[in-house]
């Protein structure tokens, strides 16, 4: 411009490239994707994200096993019930259960209830920790498939076997009666045992047998002597005369 260009100092008009760049092209914010300057594209390509690469790839490291799921409240309740049942009952019989009709299960339950045996369906994952901590550790291998527990405060083994004989779906695996672990055969033998009163009487008789024998043992000598003397008397009486009784020493 003539007005600006004159005067003493001639000052060069500064050429700012940023201002020049602004004069051409669209505004900063456009509806379309504005084409980037190549230098900017190079800068963006240079400054891209580089993810960290561990020295050992994670797939070579041992895989963490999935954590134990949290303790379920329902499982805790079931476990507590199972512990109580085991504590209260004198007889615990473990049976394998094959699926049968609902009414058959109800009939079986009814027959067992008559002899005060309770039928309990148990879940293995609930029973296993209970058994491991109680005295029934030996029964752990029995809890594999669907199981059923027959628990009773007394021990009616004979009635239980009779009922189970009529039900082919339920198979007796083992039992724990009065803190004694019995197999199937053991339960059968146990059922053949006489009842408590009879066995008590037999024990008393066996114990008193010795004492009853003692008195007879002590009297055997004199009894033998008496018998001999009687015999002698009889012989003497047979020959005739009444001799004085010989001194008995």
């Amino acid at each position: 411009m003539a007005a600006l260009g004159g005067g003493g100092t001639r000052w060069r008009r500064a050429w700012l490239p940023a201002l020049q760049l602004l004069r051409r092209g669209s505004k900063a914010v456009t509806r379309h994707w504005k084409a980037m300057h190549f230098q900017r594209q190079k800068l963006l390509a240079l400054t891209e994200y580089v993810s960290p690469r561990p020295a050992v790839p994670p797939r070579c490291l041992p895989r963490r096993s999935p954590q134990e799921p949290q303790e379920d409240g329902y499982a805790r309740v079931l476990r507590r019930q199972a512990e109580q049942t085991l504590r209260d009952s004198r007889m615990v019989a473990v049976c394998h259960y094959n699926p049968m009709a609902e009414e058959d299960v109800a009939t079986l339950r009814h027959y067992l209830r008559r002899h005060n045996i309770h039928l309990k369906f148990v879940l293995n994952e609930v029973m296993r920790p209970v058994l491991a901590q109680s005295k029934f550790r030996e029964l752990l291998p029995l809890f594999v498939c669907r199981n059923v527990l027959l628990v009773s405060p007394e021990a009616p083994a004979r009635e239980m076997l009779r009922v189970l004989k009529g039900v082919p779906h339920v198979t007796l695996l083992g039992a724990c009666i009065d803190d004694t672990i019995l197999s199937r055969r053991g339960v059968e033998n146990f059922s053949r045992l006489p009842s408590l009163e009879v066995s008590q009487g037999q024990t008393v008789a066996a114990l008193s047998l010795l004492s009853s024998q003692t008195s007879s043992l002590l009297q055997r000598g004199p009894a033998h002597l008496t018998a001999l003397l009687d015999e002698h008397i009889r012989r003497l009486q047979g020959t005739g005369g009444a001799p004085e009784t010989p001194p008995g020493h």
């Binding site: 900063a28 914010v29 400054t47 960290p52 379920d72 994952e125």
Partner: protein
């Protein structure tokens, strides 16, 4: 699990019952549905405003976090919402949500910015055109609507995604947890980036004279924004 004889025994375990979700701290507002937003403000501006596209550019400073609801639509780019968008959002959400158990809240104001248009078929010149309609400016990272109530994210996500797809900028349905997760991941990426050259480092120290080709706004935007677009993949 192998049984006797090596045969696999199928086993049904105890059913793990999950607790129902806890909605104790949620208060429903009186009007659960979205308020009607006017097309034109009550006092329309007569003075025509310059375009000011900087209200689209860059990250948002307001409405970036949840206030009342648990789920919302997050804008991942800048844009203008006009009355048509507002109606679409309002009606779709009203149709898809259950007013007894859910509520929705606007996080953007009603259209306030006048947009002018010249009449069709006229040449350039003759001054600025008259005001045609009003719009709301939305920047990236802003929540558009918030939805809350006795509902899960899975129930709300389908219709929020449908609404988000129809908006003029890219948007996604988010929940409080997913937003927190997104922010945490961004932060983690920023921290464990193995590249020693970052955009902000280059720009701040003007390496190689890069500022000649970049805008002074790039100091603040750090290469994550370009115009109205938000570059999600950039760190």
């Amino acid at each position: 699990p192998a049984g006797p004889g090596g045969v696999a025994v199928p086993r049904a375990g105890l059913k793990k019952l999950a607790l129902p979700p806890d909605y104790s701290g949620i208060t429903m507002p009186e009007k659960p549905k979205l308020k009607f937003m006017d097309k034109v403000p009550a006092v329309p501006k007569v003075q025509r405003e310059p375009r000011q596209l900087r209200d689209i550019r860059g990250p948002s400073q307001e409405a970036t976090d949840f206030t009342q609801g648990q789920y919302g639509i997050l804008a991942l780019g800048g844009g203008y919402l006009h009355f048509g968008h507002f109606e679409m959002i309002r009606l779709t959400i009203a149709r898809c949500m259950d007013p007894k158990s859910m509520f929705a809240v606007w996080r953007v104001p009603a259209p306030y910015k006048p947009v002018t248009r010249k009449s069709l078929g006229h040449r350039m010149g003759g001054g600025k055109g008259p005001v045609d309609h009003f719009v709301t400016a939305v920047k990236s990272g802003r929540l558009v609507v918030e939805v809350g109530g006795r509902c899960e994210f899975g129930e709300v996500r389908p219709f929020l995604a449908r609404v988000a797809q129809k908006l003029p900028f890219p948007a996604i349905p988010v929940s409080r947890e997913s937003l927190r997760e997104m922010r945490r991941e961004e932060e983690e990426k920023r921290l464990n980036n193995q590249n020693p050259w970052t955009f902000e480092r280059v720009v701040a120290s003007n390496m190689l004279g890069m500022r000649k080709y970049l805008s002074p706004y790039d100091l603040r935007l750090k290469g994550r924004y370009w115009g109205k677009f938000f570059l999600k993949h950039r760190v």
